[in-house]
Assembly symmetry: D2
Homo-oligomer: 299 residues x 4
């Protein structure tokens, strides 16, 4: 049973900590918000009030899991590195860009520190009770920490993907696919919504979740969402994004992959952020210029 240090107790990290604790892993936890550490202490974790304390509570060779926002990883590594020893394993379980993971892997290897990039899927519930993990780094290092993934993943739910960066790359592409699948499902429901028929969307998502070709977790989540709000009247169609979809499209461009569905699902998210668009104004103005078509005036 691996004793683990866990840095970052946001939604994903907190649930992962509970997962680890429930499986009997000793876990030293740290977050800039001491309250989160304290709540986990009540469930059996060892709270550390500084990164130094977290490191000191683990015996070398250590295994430390970072679950922090992508923008903070370099800062945490910068603080941790002088505290670590050759042979320690540092896991980045967040959504870092794969190129950064490749670079960090090289940089840390020079100090003998083994870097492992882990893409995590399954959402909050997956972190809490069994998720999906895509793991990049040295195969030998992976073998050493494999028991950890056997415990926190669903059965068959982890993969040693290849060298540094390959875990985060795989997670990035996973998210790109997710964007496309979500947009496909969403377009389907919009066609239903504008149709001449009057469907019960919860029931539709339920029947599509059972026996159909398009069954899967996203459809089950759609059923759950419609169960709470039958027509989603309570929410706006503003589709935020957290970066991995954009990275996927940028990577597709770099690799000259024609990935129109993933690209369009991203562009429709951006479209949803604007109430009105400048491109729409230009087209409306041009139609008016050549055809005298009337425009809709703004108030």
């Amino acid at each position: 049973m691996i004793k683990l240090g866990l840095i970052g107790l946001g939604k994903m990290g907190f649930n992962l900590a509970q997962n680890l604790l429930s499986r009997g892993h000793e876990t030293v936890v740290y977050d800039v918000d001491a309250g989160a550490s304290q709540r986990l202490a009540d469930q059996g974790a060892e709270p550390a009030s500084t990164l130094a304390e977290l490191v000191s509570r683990l015996e070398a060779p250590r295994t430390i899991w970072m679950m922090v926002p992508a923008g903070v990883v370099d800062h945490v590594i910068g603080e941790l590195k002088p505290l670590l020893s050759a042979g320690d394993v540092l896991i980045d379980g967040g959504n870092s860009h794969f190129k950064e993971s490749v670079a960090r892997g090289k940089m840390l290897e020079k100090a003998g520190i083994h870097y492992v990039d882990v893409g995590t899927s399954g959402g909050i519930s997956g972190a809490a009770s069994g998720g999906c993990f895509m793991i990049g780094g040295s195969r030998e290092v992976f073998k050493g920490i494999e028991p950890l993934f056997q415990d926190i993943a669903v059965p068959k739910g982890y993969l040693y993907a290849g060298p540094s960066g390959s875990g985060h790359f795989l997670k990035m592409v996973h998210n790109g696919i997710e964007y496309g699948m979500m947009q496909a499902i969403a377009e389907g429901f919009e066609i239903l919504e504008k149709s001449e028929f009057d469907y019960d969307y919860e029931e539709v998502a339920r029947v599509w979740s059972n026996g159909s070709v398009i069954r899967g977790w996203l459809m089950e989540l759609a059923e759950s969402a419609f169960a709470k709000d039958a027509k989603l009247d309570g929410i706006k169609g503003v589709m935020h994004s957290s970066g991995e979809g954009k990275w996927t499209v940028e990577t597709a461009l770099d690799l000259q992959v024609s990935a129109p569905v993933i690209a369009m699902s991203l562009l429709m998210r951006y479209r949803s952020l604007d109430e009105d668009t400048f491109h729409g104004k230009v087209v409306a103005a041009l139609r008016n210029e050549f055809g005298g078509h009337s425009v809709v005036t703004s108030d």
Copy 2:
């Protein structure tokens, strides 16, 4: 010099009438709105108060040009047909669907009436002072009325395209291209608008209209539009459409042509008609379900 009957005095028809009159063509005009006929009478046209009168004022073999909305063509043909004689030429200069033009050509040919489908481009100003005409029907019939097009088109601005339907097909595809070009231009200006730079769009459209690869009439119209309203503040980005773009996409699907740019330019027009979208709500709800990402609540 051909004496012509002209039915339909909307924006396009009225300007075409003026064009014909200015070139010295005798023109009998008819519209359900008698006021339009009267205004043209002041400019030398012969107003007819009924279709029957219009027909009676022309000597067989007659040349009659319909410039009416696509939805009204069958009605007008239905009224005209009993009044016409074998050898008469009936021109549909509006935006009819090419399949209807093929069918009408066949149907009228049985009565010896020559049907000519003419796609008209150039906007209102083109109709008024020289447009672009794509002509389908019998080549022999076309030869007989070619002098008409020599007068109303800009130099080199008319084409005998082929058998019945080929004129309207060509015009339909022209409009599909137009959708794509307008959206491309509009997206470019939106990128400028959201950039770190502060461009003068009238000046940008002006420089792009002179010497650049993307120069053309649409860019000149953009210059004109920005001259009137520098940031298009006065109009909303609602992009209406009048049908030919949809026909083009439907035809592309029938012919299994991958036409993503024309298709996306149409879909963005539809997107602009909705303030909020159901697909956006579904994606936002799904993100909330698996990731706890907060949604924007509607008021």
Copy 3:
């Protein structure tokens, strides 16, 4: 237990027949290919050699399920109608266009025959051992045949969707979503394939099938496909389509739904049918014209 007539013993019909027989339903079967009927007779079905015989082997009110290609439905209905009685139930379990189902429902109702349009998902294996059924028609008629669906569907795998046409509409949209989801998954694997990493795609599909957000039947099928051919070297990337995706896009256009992901997944299928494209030639020629960029000459 409903005694059923089943017309059409292709891949889907044959497996559905086996499903029905295995659940103890008496089933009279007919296909233009008598061999299929005979094979089912060996499994307990009553083979009919004509439609008339099939009808005569059922007592009124009859329940008859058609599982024939969309293009043949009118022909079968034409033959069946004079043989049926008021009160009989005629099910179309194939992929008919919903507008035709609406029309057929109205037409048959005049003769007192109850038409039920059933969209069927789940593929061949679903037909064989439990599929997903979307059912349109009269609710009362549905209630009468509901026990049938309880037997042949997976648990929770059937839905009374609404009036005539609503079942096939739902299935059509289901297929549109399926196109989008498949293309999203496929684009993801192409990004992996062109990346700097060397993934084992069977393993990737396996890990994504367990615990990830994008898990579902399609991902499980990807695992199965890669298990048979690790890099899919044996097959070409030609993506045929059977019509429902096109109908979905056409319907989206009619309803003015911006459905770019479903539309692009269809257009990429069309693109895959062409080894070379005329649009590519035009762009290459234009680049050569203005920039002197060299073109690739055809042999």
Copy 4:
């Protein structure tokens, strides 16, 4: 009349040199390929065999125009910088990324060297006989060299766009629009090609170039291309790209602009580079898995 140094005598640079010489500008020319310099010397240019010689042949404050590939600009600046004096003007007339132009402008300004980024459009013929120029940098510096642009641009064909980077940004977006317009035109011709009609494409491009809404230089170039090869039989539909379209899409993503038409025109170029696609194989394999749809086997 400004005496100018011109570095880089490729297709664009060579033609620009001829343009300058024909207007009576003294021009010192340099290229790594001495042959190009020599050919221009025959037309009145002063050839320099090194960058140092080129600089020494100009009196401070100098005006030097670089027309070199984007990948070489830093190298040339590195060599030039020690040779230049405060007050010199260095123009980058190539297709550099605007972010690099912003950075170079800042870096050179520290040495008192005025950097001007100039986006150039109009193709080879534009460079030769009057192009379109989008100019970024200090307005005051621009004023000093404006006479140069008055000579080499078509009337109204240059614009002071704003601070450093704004010229190349504008050119980048211009190219993005160009991608979209070209793809729109090309899709239109593909629809014609697959239609039931038999059009003469040279004639179509000719009529669309005269009086239509979509008239412009690209359509004129299409006419020219079809005049040389009526069906473009001699060339393949492989659409290469030189980078600015990709930059435009990447910039749109950074600015969260929904630019589907420009994005799709880029993705179709990438698609054209592959004879077969991995995404196609995956979709074909999935269809086979769930529906037993046959695949096309590779040889």
